[in-house]
């Protein structure tokens, strides 16, 4: 649905240029303040005691020795949090889950689950005090694998967690069920020349942001508090912290620090209420900074997945039916995005018969969090692998087959809605035309193609724009800048106001300064905050025009705004010299007062996004080691506001996807403990592992945004798991069905194939 009837497609002055980022100097000089950079007078240091067991009943906690240690000012356990949590709109049940995760209640549910916390005069004393806390555990049977967690006899994580969507007869660890699709898949399979069915698995991965979670909390006996933290959404943190601590939301002011990476992992509250609870008890500010090991063990990685895909195809490559069953393990709480996995898997295609089923399964692992297009990469890995294998079997070109079946304008999507203006075909055409696709491969190399889809999101948004007397502008947004959004906001505002990019300063306002804003997630910021910025700037322009009209003594409707000037709209409006913005703002105090623009809304026109990746990989047949030789990302951005940042998002998604495909994984021992909670053994790609990642920005304007913007942050991680798997499988000559495709796994597949 078009939100605007005035979609601007060309004639941009600022949008589409590549100016320097406004926060660049702060970031390269160290002036930028991140989560751990804040200090306060009288500040204490907090530390958290974490369960060494995957599943254990907490029979008792003795904190007396820790409390007696010199320098310890407060110790908290679950007893220091309210018995019940406030209900907040749109958060049914989730507040309790957050509290239970932030501080364990009756049971420790995973290795790393918080059981107590200390605030002391130094970080070292706080750590020493943790060693003095005695916890009496009764160790319980545990389960960490998704298929085992839903099998008969598996330990129950928490009885009664399932909602009404779950069919009867399933294990209590299955807590949500999703089913969608259309047509008759059995009839479709009957029409196929080739039907393939296979099981694919992916392990959990972590976002791997470089900045660990960190915060500084202050909470007084009067119920008034301040929280500084690294977050993708400080308004959400305000709401959650208030709920789990029993505060009035408005009495807690939350300020977002600069953020050293989030990728979805900083949309969730893991530690911040502990700092506030300690502060309330000690009556001093309490700073907390997670170690890397805590980040891995106790924040939110992705779900792990086990998936069955069945596809029917005719000899010419037409898909006759597709069925996907997706089982996702999301830790010891409901929330694994099995529904998103199911909805996204077949979304790039126009299908007559399609059925998808998703299971959200609990296990003794940390509570999963969003990670860039949550749920979608796993499904794409399974679906796109099967399509690739079918293309190989039928001798068909993988791009032609995807084009033949591509979702188009007017297609009824796999999960329901009918598409409006979408870019899947344009992306595939760009892949076909790209020199990468026609470059011959060398011996031992393989090429992989895969498509991916992500919904994108709008969400609650509020923006305020204030003009200064010198004609410059300051914009307050409520969405933390995780991808260069301050630059994008300034470019869009410059376009409306007709003033230089450099004359605009964009600030991430705290929760006391601006209306509510949803988290920076769902690739929504350039779309939703951007839309709100354009509308707020237009609001200010209307007021500027009004002041000019009043001075000229004409009707405001007879004034237009062009390149920073108010002008009479035509000869009938009168003969007046164009009036520059500085002429209006310079005397605004005397002509009606300060001029600001506002916009508040929940825009719902976020355009869906498609992308297709091309990968060349080489596999060493003697060691199973993969090298990525060449990589090209093609994705629809709607309209690239700042093309460099769009390209950066494409490259970042590909880089993280390559890591997920090849070497990243959560490794659990038989004891249910995480074995690789440091970057030495959790292997994200290093710079020398990756080739220069080429990008192609496709622009199919989104009618739901004034400039045609679609979110670009997430789609880029959807195709790479599959694209890399297809390249590796084609290079090795054996189909890899489980991620990561680590060298031992590839070498074993090669040996098994030889027999």
């Amino acid at each position: 649905m078009a939100l605007d009837d005035d979609l601007k497609k060309d004639g941009f002055t600022f949008v589409g240029t590549r100016p320097k980022r406004p926060d660049g100097l702060d970031k390269v000089t160290g002036r930028a303040k991140f989560g751990a950079d804040m200090v306060a007078p009288g500040m204490l240091h907090g530390a958290i005691l974490r369960s060494p067991h995957a599943h254990a009943r907490i029979k008792g906690i003795d904190t007396s020795k820790a409390e007696a240690l010199e320098g310890v000012k407060a110790v908290v356990t679950r007893a220091d949090f309210p018995d019940t949590v406030q209900h907040k709109p749109g958060m049914a049940g989730e507040m309790w889950n957050v509290l239970e995760n932030v501080m364990a209640g009756e049971k420790a549910l995973y290795d790393g689950h918080a059981v107590a916390a200390v605030a002391a005069t130094s970080a070292l004393i706080a750590k020493d005090a943790l060693k003095l806390i005695e916890v009496d555990y009764e160790v319980l049977p545990h389960v960490t694998d998704v298929d085992k967690a839903m099998a008969e006899g598996a330990p129950v994580i928490r009885e009664g967690s399932a909602d009404r969507s779950v069919p009867e007869g399933l294990h209590p660890n299955v807590v949500r069920y999703h089913e969608s699709g259309h047509g008759d898949v059995e009839a479709g399979f009957a029409k196929a020349d080739l039907v393939m069915e296979d099981t694919y698995k992916t392990e959990a991965t972590h976002q791997g942001y470089i900045e660990p979670h960190a915060c500084l909390g202050m909470l007084g006996a009067d119920g008034k508090g301040e929280l500084w933290c690294t977050t993708q959404g400080h308004f959400y943190f305000q709401k959650v912290c208030a709920a789990v601590l029993g505060l009035e939301t408005s009495q807690l002011r939350v300020t977002a620090s600069e953020i050293g990476g989030g990728f979805g992992g900083k949309t969730t509250v893991f530690m911040e209420p502990v700092s506030l609870a300690l502060s309330r008890k000690a009556n001093r500010p309490v700073k907390m900074v997670m170690s890397r090991s805590e980040v891995f063990r106790a924040t939110g990685p992705t779900a792990s997945a086990s998936m069955d895909i069945k596809i029917g195809m005719t000899k010419d490559g037409t898909i006759t039916a597709a069925k996907g069953t997706y089982r996702l393990q999301g830790g010891a709480f409901p929330g694994a995005p099995a529904d998103f996995t199911a909805m996204c898997g077949f979304a790039p295609y126009c299908l007559e018969n399609v059925l998808q089923i998703g299971y959200d399964v609990m296990a003794n692992r940390p509570k999963q969090a969003a990670y860039r297009a949550p749920g979608a990469p796993m499904g794409a890995f399974a679906v796109e692998s099967v399509i690739d294998e079918m293309c190989n079997k039928l001798g068909l070109d993988p791009v032609e087959v995807r084009l033949k079946n591509a979702a188009r304008d007017g297609t009824k999507s796999s999960y329901g809605p009918t598409w409006d203006a979408i870019g899947q075909v344009a992306c595939l055409e760009a892949v076909k035309a790209h020199p990468h696709y026609s470059t011959p491969l060398k011996e031992g190399q393989g090429r992989g193609i895969a498509s991916g889809f992500w919904f994108n999101h709008g969400g609650e948004t509020s923006v305020s724009l204030a003009l200064s007397e010198d004609g410059t502008a300051q914009i307050s947004v409520g969405t933390p800048d995780i991808g260069g959004s301050r630059a994008s906001m300034a470019l869009m505002a410059a376009e409306v106001l007709g003033i230089p990019y450099e004359n605009i300063r964009v600030t991430i306002a705290d929760t006391a300064t601006l209306g509510y804003n949803d988290v920076s997630h769902g690739s929504r910021v350039t779309y939703a905050s951007g839309l709100a910025t354009i509308k707020a700037a237009r609001d200010a322009v209307e007021k500027l025009k009004g002041r000019a009209a009043a001075e000229w003594g004409i009707d405001p409707d007879a004034v237009t705004w062009e390149d920073g000037y108010a002008k009479p709209s035509g000869p009938n409006a009168g003969e007046f010299e164009p009036m520059h913005i500085t002429k209006i703002t310079g005397k605004m105090g005397r002509t009606g007062g300060p001029i600001s623009g506002h916009f508040e809304a929940t825009p719902e026109g976020a355009g869906v996004s498609f992308g297709t990746h091309i990968v060349d990989a080489e596999v060493d047949p003697e060691t199973g080691k993969t090298s990525i030789i060449r990589y090209t990302v093609v994705q629809d951005a709607g309209k690239a506001i700042h093309p460099t940042y769009v390209e950066g998002q494409f490259q970042g998604g590909a880089a993280q996807g390559i890591g997920w495909a090849l070497n990243e994984e959560y490794i659990y021992g038989e004891d249910g403990r995480l074995q690789n909670s440091i970057f030495l053994d959790y292997r994200i790609p290093v710079a020398s592992d990756l080739p220069m990642i080429d990008t192609v920005i496709v622009e199919v304007p989104n009618p739901g945004h004034p400039y045609g913007v679609r979110g670009v942050g997430e789609t880029g991680i959807v195709p790479p798991l599959a694209a890399v798997a297809n390249a590796v499988s084609n290079a090795a000559g054996v189909r890899l069905k489980e991620l990561p495709m680590s060298p031992p796994r590839i070498l074993k597949a090669l040996k098994d194939q030889k027999g």
């Binding site: 080691k625 090849l662 030495l680 053994d681 292997r683 070498l747 040996k751």
Partner: protein, 292 residues
């Protein structure tokens, strides 16, 4: 924790011999400080030996052999043209450890005494026939590198003993050495298999050889059968097959987060041949690409 900065090895030994509780020697600190900060080990006595005179020196002796101080860093080794020309394999093993920043601090002796079976500098030292000077309350002795590790995280040094110098033999004519490791990435990782090979040629024929493996057993180990497979050959395919078989047979690895038994055993053979080829090419005076 008590922090000591002794002015001589004798002083350091006296402190260590009298210490009760946990003692750690500190040179580069790239293991000790990390363990301290991550709360794995909190020493009662931390004895900083890098301020002892001579511990930063690289000296070539009159007979062509080398003596390295215990605080010589990886960066100082890779920037020493003479040492790199004589023992490129030994130096490349050291150079593979950590980042550029770590290279500025990390030392051969620290890598050896940390006791990791996967220590990158150790197979190269073993292949080169390096010994270390061990000093202690009961005097001084010279010990082969392969006799230092006792198991993961453990050494054969007695209480109060420390390593005071690294002794590298003279390279001599027609020799070449190499170290290679397998990691799933391209750098900043820990060896899943490591191989050091040193050999000497007479014409095209290998007359002397030493082969050492890392990360495939509780300690780095010498592979005499691997050396025997090479001696007398021109590193032809048959010799390589014998070397691969000997290397794989020597493995006594574990399944862990870094690799499986099967994988380590297979790759030890593959890597032994590749490393031997690099050492052979160097012995023939061929230019060999920088390790990857």
């Amino acid at each position: 924790m008590r922090y000591h900065t002794p002015a001589s090895f004798d002083d350091a030994i006296a402190i260590a011999a009298q210490a009760e509780g946990i003692t750690r020697f500190l040179a580069g600190g790239t293991d000790v400080l990390v363990q301290l900060r991550s709360d794995l080990v909190t020493p009662d006595d931390l004895i900083d030996i890098k301020q002892i005179p001579g511990t930063h020196d690289i000296v070539q002796n009159a007979d062509g052999s080398w003596t390295l101080g215990i605080a010589v860093s990886g960066a100082e080794m890779t920037e020493h043209a003479g040492l790199c020309a004589a023992w490129p394999g030994l130096v490349e093993g050291m150079d593979l450890i950590g980042s550029t920043q770590v290279q500025g601090r990390a030392t051969l002796v620290g890598n050896l005494c940390n006791g990791s079976p996967a220590a990158d500098s150790v197979p190269g030292m073993m292949a080169a026939g390096v010994t270390v000077t061990v000093m202690g309350p009961n005097g001084t002795r010279e010990v082969a590198v392969e006799d230092i590790p006792a198991g993961p995280g453990r050494t054969n040094l007695a209480k109060g003993e420390l390593i005071a110098a690294v002794n590298i033999p003279a390279r001599g004519e027609n020799g070449g050495d190499a170290y290679q490791r397998f990691i799933p990435r391209t750098e900043m990782d820990i060896a899943v298999v490591g191989v050091g090979v040193s050999l000497r040629l007479d014409g095209d024929i290998i007359t002397e050889a030493r082969v050492a493996l890392g990360a495939v057993a509780p300690t780095a180990l010498m592979v005499p059968d691997g050396a025997a497979a090479l001696i007398g050959s021109t590193l032809d395919d048959a010799a390589k097959a014998r070397l691969a078989a000997a290397a794989s047979a020597a493995c006594n690895p574990i399944d862990d987060k870094r690799g499986t038994i099967e994988f380590r055993t297979d790759v030890a053979g593959v890597l032994a041949c590749r490393t031997a080829q690099r050492a052979y090419d160097r012995a023939q005076g061929k230019k060999v690409a920088k390790h990857v």
